[in-house]
Each structure stands twice: as structure tokens, then as C-alpha cells.
């Protein structure tokens, strides 16, 4: 492994921006393109927001964000110890949300899947949820003049 980071934050909505900026700054050391960095920021924002809103239902809790870089491959893991997901397949369906009353769009997982190379979800009701996001960058430093 070339590099790694680990961040632990309380489940608060104002930490969503902090978390995505930290991961973006960590990934920036391998010179991804601006678009690739934006993809990572958006996907991390979705996963952390889900931990806050769904995992801990806007209550207290701890969120762990861990990331590794191996060459130009970034792997980010977002962990909560909240309510968990009973039906992961259903949760991943575009437009599905369990909280329409909070005006959720149900597009979080769809965005994570589209903006990253892969999005893997492990969850157990009552125990929590772990989302692993992977993206291999095209190495902007090789292509830019």
C-alpha cells in the first residue's frame, strides 16, 4: 500500500463537507483530473450523508472514513454503526428511498455507482453499514502536456 488515511467524525450534517474535502485532498496526491476529484467528492458526500440521515437517523453516532491509495487506485470505506439495511438490493434501486418525508431523492446509491468504478455495500440490521467505493484514476500527470 502506498498511502492510507483514517478519519473519525461525529454524525453531524456539517461534517459532510469536511469528510468529502479530506478524501479529495488525500486523492489529489496522485494527480487525478478535476472531474475525477469531483466524482470522488460527490460519491463520498452521498455515503456520509446516508450514514447521518439513515444510519443514525439524524441522531448521535460515529462515522469512520478510511481510504487507501495503491498507485492510482483509490479505495474509500465509509462505516457507520447505525440501523443497517435489511434489503440492500432494494436500497440500491434508483429513486428508492425509505425517507420520502425528508425529501430524499433516492439517487444516492445510483450516483455512487455511476461516479465510481465500484460501490460495494455490506450491512446488517442493528449493527451498521459499510460502503466501499473504488476508483482508479487515469493519471492526469501522464496525459497533460
Amino acid at each position: 500500500m502506498d498511502n492510507y488515511m483514517r478519519l473519525e467524525i461525529p454524525s453531524k450534517s456539517q461534517n459532510e463537507a469536511f469528510a468529502r474535502v479530506v478524501v479529495a485532498a488525500f486523492a489529489a496526491q496522485v494527480d487525478p483530473t478535476i472531474d475525477e476529484i469531483s466524482d470522488v467528492k460527490t460519491a463520498v458526500s452521498e455515503a456520509v450523508t446516508n450514514a447521518v440521515i439513515h444510519g443514525y437517523e439524524n441522531g448521535p453516532g460515529t462515522i469512520v472514513i478510511a481510504a487507501t491509495l495503491e498507485g492510482s487506485r483509490l479505495e474509500v470505506t465509509i462505516i457507520d454503526y447505525g440501523v443497517g439495511i435489511a434489503d440492500i438490493e432494494k436500497a440500491r434501486e434508483p429513486l428508492y428511498t425509505s425517507k420520502p418525508e425528508l425529501e430524499r431523492s433516492g439517487m444516492g446509491f445510483t450516483i455512487m455507482e455511476n461516479f465510481m468504478d465500484s460501490c460495494h455495500v455490506v450491512s446488517e440490521p442493528g449493527k451498521g453499514t459499510t460502503v466501499t467505493l473504488v476508483k482508479t484514476f487515469s493519471r492526469a500527470d501522464d496525459t497533460e502536456a
Partner: protein, 111 residues
């Protein structure tokens, strides 16, 4: 996130500056809804000129305002989306409900 609300005729212009995420959306929703409740507003134009980041929480907030406004025969419009924001609009198929314009002037002409 900074939000400025302005009116042009019966259209409320929501001018946003910053990052449109869950945290920002929770703060601006009430501001808009208070206006909708107390003023005679038909349409809403979301001006994305100053928005450099949006995630699915932004989509939810916009769709929520669309529900309120369209129930009374009004429209929700959006303008000046950067390519990132536009991609998220497209992923969600939002453009079927919310017409997107390249500038505020074009959007107001279409309102």
C-alpha cells in the same frame, strides 16, 4: 452555502452560492417555503450560477419545491448549471419536470 431570494413578478429567484448538500438544503428549504406560504408566488427559478457542488440532497430539495409549486399550476425552472450539476440532473431524469436554461435571462423569458 449562501442563498438570496429575489422576486420578479410572480417568479421567486433562488440565487445560490456554494455547495448544495444535505447540510445546505436543510437550511434553505424553510427560507423558501416561508416565502411560498406568505407571498403570491407562482414559479421558482433556481439559479445555479454560483453552485460548484451538488449531490442528491439538492435533487430532493428541488423536487420537493416542484411538488408544492406544480400543485398550484406553477413551474420550477433551473439555470446556469455547470456540467457536474447537469450530469446529476440527467442521472435523475429531472429535466422532464424542471426545464433547464443556460442563462437567467432565458429562464425568465420561459417562465
Amino acid at each position: 452555502m449562501q442563498v438570496k431570494l429575489k422576486r420578479t413578478g410572480s417568479t421567486l429567484i433562488v440565487q445560490m452560492m456554494g455547495e448544495l448538500d444535505h447540510h445546505a438544503v436543510d437550511a434553505m428549504r424553510e427560507k423558501i417555503d416561508v416565502k411560498l406560504l406568505h407571498e403570491d408566488i407562482k414559479n421558482i427559478l433556481f439559479d445555479f450560477q454560483g453552485v460548484n457542488f451538488m449531490d442528491s440532497s439538492g435533487l430532493g430539495m428541488i423536487l420537493g419545491r416542484y411538488k408544492i409549486v406544480s400543485a398550484k399550476g406553477g413551474k420550477v425552472l433551473a439555470c446556469s448549471l455547470n456540467p457536474r450539476v447537469r450530469r446529476i440532473f440527467e442521472l435523475a431524469g429531472l429535466e422532464n419536470k424542471i426545464p433547464v436554461f443556460s442563462s437567467k435571462q432565458d429562464a425568465l423569458a420561459g417562465a
